[in-house]
């Protein structure tokens, strides 16, 4: 049960009567008695909440930055009207718009309420409880009960870098040519034979095939297809650091974790590679496999990727590079492009990845992509005061370490993409296109 403000107000008004009455003690007793009786009567006459039935409907998935409407049907099978307030409690970062709504369900009827969620971060957001407070006809007291009506909304990564996709697809089309290329070159493979038409390069005539037929036949070539791309996401401690300004979500100025920027880049790369005809697999790893997608069809790739990425959070442990390489090697039997999304942290790299890198880079093409911190770039440009110059020196030292580690990686034959948060996705896509054009996949 619960009391309302009216009960307190009534008691306060009774105080005035007590002040003026000749027998104040009796009036106090009488007021207490009357109030108790009224509250009891109100509780008895309030609509029953115990028998209420609930049902949810609505969206199961929503992109971060967008809103989802979740319906809640309240069914009142009891003989009395249920009138009062209802609270549909979600986790705070689900961003439920209204905390409490007024409820009025007549006897043996049902009403549908809508809760609008605007999640502020990625992951699974759950409905915690539905609490109904049914107020009596006098408005003095209410019956209250909390129900568990489960529902989960998976908040997907927003994939903001998809705006870069059309430009990269255009580059890709240039690359493979809607019209088959006639010149054999790097990154092309034999496509088909067709009849010679005026204008074709005479050097591409396949004389042996022409001899078999009465016609002149030319060979056509197309870019490599059906290569394998394995995207590996490092979810260790370095991925928890926040950089830049969060493009969506609640607290934007505190930045976005490197993990989320990396996911954005991974999604653009996956979308591009799938359109280019390559097979894309995904692996999230710190000290164990956190998520993986393998063998997804081209049409389902993106949806299964965002689904796998959504619940991943950065673990505050040092990533196990040896375990990661072992996991990659066990999954990639044929030569493939391993895209490693991690941070170019000198100490972590030297102790973790560098010793085990040769085993990986000898069998696969490795591409390391890292999100640089714009704040460090800003600090490095600081001049004028001693404080700014000391900060600039610290920033330059970090950048020097990153350059160092980049040079070491390149010596191992590893491609490195190190770009600011907003640029990392297109830079990674460009690096992939460059590799594809060069036929190094």
């Amino acid at each position: 049960m619960a009391l309302t403000g009216r009960a307190g107000l009534l008691a306060a008004l009774a105080a005035i009567v007590v002040l003026l009455a000749p027998e104040p003690g009796l009036v106090v007793l009488a007021a207490a008695l009357v109030l108790t009786v009224l509250v009891a009567a109100d509780l008895l006459l309030a609509g029953a909440v115990r028998g209420l039935r609930f049902q949810r409907d609505g969206e199961r998935r929503v992109r971060l930055g967008q809103s989802a409407a979740i319906g809640l049907v309240v069914d009142n099978p009891g003989p009395r009207r249920v009138r009062g307030v209802l609270r549909d409690a979600w986790q705070p970062s689900a961003g439920a718009a209204v905390r409490r709504v007024t409820l009025d369900v007549p006897a043996r009827q049902r009403r549908r309420l809508v809760t609008t969620l605007t999640p502020t971060r990625r992951g699974d957001r759950e409905a915690v409880a539905v609490t109904v407070r049914s107020v009596g006809p006098l408005g003095l007291a209410a019956r209250q009960r909390t129900f568990h009506v489960p529902w989960t909304v998976r908040v997907l990564p927003p994939f903001l870098s998809r705006r870069h996709l059309p430009a990269r697809l255009a580059r890709l089309r240039e690359l493979d040519g809607r019209h088959p290329a006639l010149v054999r070159g790097q990154g092309t493979e034999f496509d088909s034979l067709r009849e010679y038409v005026v204008g074709d390069d005479v050097r591409s005539i396949d004389w042996r095939a022409s001899a078999r037929r009465s016609d002149v036949v030319v060979r056509t070539w197309r870019p490599e297809r059906d290569r394998r791309v394995l995207i590996v996401l490092d979810t260790g401690r370095t991925s928890a650091g926040r950089v830049g300004v969060a493009p969506v979500g609640g607290d934007r100025l505190s930045g976005w974790p490197r993990l989320d920027w990396s996911m954005d880049a991974a999604l653009l790369l996956a979308a591009l590679a799938a359109r280019a005809g390559d097979r894309v697999d995904f692996l999230a790893y710190d000290r164990a496999v956190r998520a993986q997608v393998s063998g997804a069809s081209r049409t389902e790739l993106l949806s299964s990727l965002v689904d796998a990425m959504a619940p991943i959070e950065a673990e505050l442990v040092e990533a196990d590079a040896a375990g990661m390489v072992a996991a990659v090697l066990s999954r990639a039997r044929r030569r493939c492009l391993v895209v490693l999304l991690t941070d170019l942290n000198a100490t972590a790299m030297e102790e973790g990845l560098l010793p085990v890198l040769p085993g990986l880079s000898s069998r696969h093409m490795v591409l390391v992509a890292s999100v640089a911190d714009p704040r460090v770039a800003g600090m490095a440009a600081g001049r004028g005061t001693a404080e700014a110059v000391y900060d600039a020196a610290a920033a330059e030292r970090l950048r020097g370490e990153r350059r160092e580690i980049t040079a070491v990686l390149r010596r191992h034959g590893v491609e490195v993409v190190d770009a600011l948060p907003e640029d990392v996705a297109p830079a990674l896509a460009d690096a992939y296109l460059a590799l594809k054009a060069a036929g190094r996949l």
Binding site: L9, A11, A12, A21, Q91, T146, G241, P257, R258, A380
Partner: protein, 396 residues
Amino acid sequence: MTAATAPAKARSRGRQTAWAALLVVLVLVTAVLPLLLTGGRSGGRSLDPDDTSLNGSAALARLLEAHGVEVTRVETPGAAVAAAGPHTLLLVTEASFLDRAAAGRVSAAFGDRLIVGSVPYLDVLAPGVRRQGPVRARSRAPECTLREAVRAGDAYTGGMAFTGPQGATGCYPAGDGHALVRYTADGHTVTVLGDASFMTNLRLAEDGNAALALNLAGARQKLVWLAEPDDPAEAGGPRDPGDPDDPGEGTDGQARSLGDLIPRGVKWAVLQLAVAVALAALWRGRRLGPVVAERLPVVVRAAETVEGRGRLYRSRRARDRAALALRAAAADRLAPRLGLPRTATAEEVAVAAAARTGRDPEPVLTLLCGPPPGDDTALVTLAAHLDTLERQVRDS
């Protein structure tokens, strides 16, 4: 701050000023109002032998002591009676605090009495003396044979005109009677004056006021001065509440506690209000469902380590390391522009840069691989010079 939000800020600042002004006014009003309501009592106790304000009588007391009169200041009628003896003069002024019973005890005390001003219970203190109506207080001539008055001459008297009993002496005629009346009863000399102004520090120096006061108050070797007490309730002494003779202007209220004065209903109303507050607390305290907890990810800026390192450099004044980092970064950026491999040393970069820009090689060499700067200013200058060199190489 943008222009659009500037007026809003100014408005909020204006509102703040208004609130502050209101607060100041409120404080002033609460400070000044009680003073105005209490009538601006300028402090001091009137007709007190220890008081040096205009209303006090310290001057007279000191004069009396100089003439060898022993002045005993008492506050309560009981103390006055105790101090009185056959050779004392008891001075009762309008500032003395008396009720009827106390006046009776005082009138029964040994010694002479000098009653000055509008003292209550005159019928008890000076039986036989009757008031003849108020008169204006002013300088008057004695016009009588009383030695004390004749010697003093004109004095500031008046206030009330009296007529004495049979055989009484009247001086300073005023209205239908005299402003000073003296008579003798039971061996005590009782002197009554209608106004006490002539005894105050303010008027003592006028006319013959001082002489009159000294003559009257210094008549005996010992003067018992019944002065205004600190706490009037104490001065009244233990009292019998059932005394029917106690007419009491407000003396009845003194006997009761504050609790007796509050109507009975108020206590019960307070109890009822407590019930109301308890109900309101129950209303506000009942939560609509459970508190929802959530495990949130850590919020840590990736640049924090770099900022920490910068502060460490600063606190240790690590100019050598800072200069090293800045020079290495500049050399790394210069090397590819000068067509040198990444592995080129700072000296090679400096020589190449000097050759490219046409500058003297010596200062460029010092800039890129010289000794660490001696102070913070030199470090700031070094950073600026490195920037200049990079720009020159870029533009060349």
